[in-house]
């Protein structure tokens, strides 16, 4: 009985070993024989669109991002045209709203401009100059196609007392600025060197590009909001519902990783106007700032204004203890704005301003 059992066990073991040897041999042969590049192509992650069966036909040499951008462009154009038609029907073909909407719809272009080599973007802001007017936040909303109903703003301007710049209970809904004893600190994504938001993302939907811009791939975001929990600067916003932008206000210059019209339940944040800066422009907030408190440029370029500002005045970052190495610098520039006498009318002793 026992011998018989032992024999059966031995037989099983032998056949198992045989099977393992055959399988091992086969895998070694296939590993050696198969073209590595082909294997890599096979093992490449499948794009979401392919899974959902939305793949559009595209040029062979286009990158995946470009293909998606083209597809997105058609989608958004279609959606925009439908909206524009509604407006035209309601207000007449000759109404300014109809003309504006159609014009914008026709101009829609979704880009996928890649980063330029050797560029490392950074921004600096002169706290002494900032008057807290929030024009940057407004320009940002208009430029980046944020949902108007949720009132998403990427830039938040916090007003703090001059005595202690502790980021606690700031004045944010003020209606009168600047006040004499306040400083105003616009805050948005700091595009950190070590961003915790990209470390925590479970699906690599948010990542840092070589030119230093931290981007979000809206087609990949699963809306878990872990990045919002991890960001020490409160820079990230969530589309809590289906976002809506009036087509008469739509910015047709779009980038697939930036201001392209968003989807419900995805996270978004400042991209330093990737649709402008990748093409050599400056972000909308820099352009609109009435006191010129913002400086944007390439950290690697010795002649860039950002380098000059840092070397001349010295710069600091907010919450350095968070250890994320922000690339959004703050500095106290030469003139204190506003001077006391400009606000109160009374003159102080000493030099005249």
């Amino acid at each position: 009985m026992a011998e018989e059992r032992q024999a059966r066990v031995d037989e099983t073991r032998r056949s198992l070993l045989k099977a393992a040897a055959v399988l091992g041999g086969a895998s070694i042969i296939s590993f050696a024989a198969v073209d590595k590049d082909k294997l890599k192509a096979v093992l490449k992650p499948v794009a979401l669109e392919e899974v959902l069966g939305e793949t559009a036909e595209a040029a062979e040499d286009a990158t995946e991002l470009e293909r998606r951008a083209k597809q997105k462009e058609q989608e958004i154009k279609k959606m925009c045209m439908a909206e524009a038609e509604k407006i035209c029907k309601a207000q007449g073909q000759d109404s300014p709203a109809c003309k504006e909407a159609t014009k914008r719809c026709e101009m829609i272009k979704v880009k996928a401009t890649p980063p330029r080599k050797g560029v490392r973007f950074a921004m600096a802001l002169d706290i002494n100059k900032c008057i807290g007017c929030r024009r940057c936040a407004y320009a940002c909303v208009m430029e980046n196609n944020m949902d108007r109903e949720l009132r998403i703003e990427w830039i938040k301007v916090v007003g703090l007392p001059r005595e202690e710049l502790e980021l606690l209970n700031p004045k944010m809904d003020y209606t009168d600025a600047p006040e004499r004893n306040m400083v105003y600190i616009p805050m948005a994504c700091m595009h950190c060197e070590d961003p915790p938001c990209t470390m925590v993302c479970p699906v690599v939907a948010t990542y840092k590009e070589p030119d230093g811009i931290v981007v979000i791939d809206y087609d990949r975001c699963i809306g878990c909001r872990y990045c919002m929990t991890a960001c020490p600067y409160g820079a990230r916003r969530f589309n809590w519902k289906k976002p809506r932008v009036p087509v008469t206000e739509l910015n047709p210059n779009m980038h697939i990783l930036g201001n392209v019209v968003r989807q419900p339940h995805v996270v978004e944040k400042c991209t330093w106007c990737i649709q402008r800066t990748r093409d050599g422009g400056v972000p909308a907030c820099v352009e609109v700032c009435p006191v010129g408190s913002r400086v944007f440029g390439d950290l690697n370029d010795p002649a860039s204004p950002i380098r000059r500002v840092i070397e001349e005045y010295g710069a600091f970052v907010l919450r350095p203890e968070a250890g994320t190495k922000p690339r959004f610098f703050y500095y106290f520039g030469p003139a204190r704005t506003p001077k006391k006498e400009w606000v109160t009318g009374e003159k102080e002793g000493g030099k005249k301003g």
Binding site: L48, N169, T229, F238, H265, R319, T324
Partner: protein, 426 residues
């Protein structure tokens, strides 16, 4: 009139075990059982309805209405009720292993009888946890496609997903195997027990540790930024998990005819609960000292003020915090009195106090203060919306339903082996 009739006798195959589980869990039972079953099913269905047709309408239906805007969550408080209860149930699931360790690692005969109930508890708790995550994630279908495909090995969320599903699978296997052998009146084979406990025990500690690691290393949340968070999670989990098991045992003993639990099982479980509570309370004391004794980072102090004093209209958080402390202390004191801890009423009371205390500590009081004030310093209060409460209740309904069904099967199998069969003589 039942569509399927329970079989009279079962063979030795695994298919018969599955048939046995279906029969015992779904086809046999009293009126009260079916009433509870239907009520929980209804609750679960309502929760799923709210989730699919209201909260996630833009995702599942492509609708213009609805969306997570129907919750009280905001950019300042992006995680709320769902994540709070997620944390609690992960702890309960992890602590199911206490019975397993006592039974299989230390070979305690009394615990061997009831260890499978720990596995049932773990399965039900993890199902609840996964449902709560599904309700919390903005795009759950995308997550299911992308998470296995493009994992970020640095993200604790991915690791949590791995250990949670792994632990669910382990406990489901444990349950299945135990029922398979016990229903045939056979003891569990060693070649199952040894690998099972060697894999499952680290997994159990792992699920709760990884869950704590999701939040504890974030400089953006000073209230969580402490290496004490994970030990604290595990400590209170080992109070609440066994307390729920104890509750189940006391109830089973009272309502299942012939089911008897060894006195020593109660004593040792009581010991674990008390010990874990003491450690948890001690951790809270240590945190209080760190935050309030001298000075600390103002932002952290402000968040702690929300937790302990209910600043910014968050009074309910402070109530929960102090309920944890006071009920925890009360449970420990009661457990030290022999006449209380040795009577079944006393045990029931201590278990209930412990569960309520840990629910208060683990859920909102540990999650919400980390978001108020937010990184911009704005104190935006958070009160869960009725929709969130409804969905959370619904997900709990499904979890409880699974617990009810599986626990009935497990107790029936235990009865077959230990009280009617060969195990009765040991």
């Amino acid at each position: 009139m039942p569509l399927l009739k329970p079989k009279e006798s079962y063979g030795e195959s695994w298919l018969d075990t599955i048939r046995y589980i279906i029969d015992k869990g779904l086809l046999e039972g009293s009126k009260a059982y079916y009433l509870a079953f239907a009520a929980l099913l209804l609750l679960g269905a309502y929760g799923l309805y709210l989730w699919i047709f209201v909260q996630h309408a833009p995702i599942f239906l492509g609708a213009d209405y609805g969306g997570m805007i129907t919750t009280a969550l905001s950019d300042s408080v992006p995680w709320g009720l769902y994540v709070s209860f997620f944390v609690f149930w992960v702890g309960v699931a992890a602590a199911g292993i206490v019975f397993g360790i006592a039974a299989y690692a230390f070979g305690h005969p009394g615990f061997k009888k009831v260890a499978v109930l720990g596995e049932v508890q773990a399965v039900a708790a993890i199902v609840t946890v996964l449902l709560l995550i599904a309700a919390d994630i903005g795009r759950p279908i995308r997550a299911m496609i992308l998470m296995p495909q493009l994992p970020n090995l640095r993200s604790m969320l991915d690791w949590d997903f791995v250990v949670l599903t792994g632990y669910l699978l382990l406990n489901a296997i444990g349950f299945l195997v135990t029922v398979h052998y016990y229903r045939q009146d056979k003891p569990l084979p060693r070649k199952f027990i040894v690998p099972f406990i060697i894999i499952a025990a680290p997994f159990a500690i792992g699920i709760h540790t990884v869950t704590a690691f999701i939040s504890q290393a974030l400089t953006a949340r000073p209230y969580w930024l402490s290496p004490l968070l994970a030990p604290r999670y595990v400590a209170t989990a080992f109070a609440s998990g066994p307390a729920i098991l104890l509750l189940a045992l006391v109830l089973a003993e009272r309502y299942v005819k012939g089911f008897k639990v060894d006195e020593d099982v109660y004593r040792k479980t009581m010991l674990v609960i008390t010990g874990a509570l003491v450690v948890g309370l001690y951790f809270t004391l240590s945190e209080l000292h760190e935050i309030y004794w001298y000075t600390t980072e103002p932002w952290k102090r402000e968040q702690a003020n929300v937790a302990f004093y209910g600043y910014y209209g968050m009074g309910y958080i402070a109530v929960m915090m102090w309920l944890w402390i006071s009920l925890g202390v009360a449970a420990v004191i009661l457990a030290l009195i022999p006449s209380v801890r040795n009577s079944w009423q006393g045990r029931l009371l201590i278990a209930l106090l412990t569960i309520i205390a840990v629910v208060n500590e683990k859920t909102m009081a540990v999650v919400i203060p980390a978001y108020i004030p937010d990184p911009l310093g704005r104190p935006i209060p958070y009160y869960p919306s009725p929709l969130e409460v409804g969905i959370t209740l619904g997900m709990h309904g499904i979890g409880l339903l699974i617990y009810l069904v599986l626990a009935r099967v497990a107790i029936d199998a235990i009865m077959t082996h230990y009280f009617r069969g060969s195990g009765a003589h040991h």
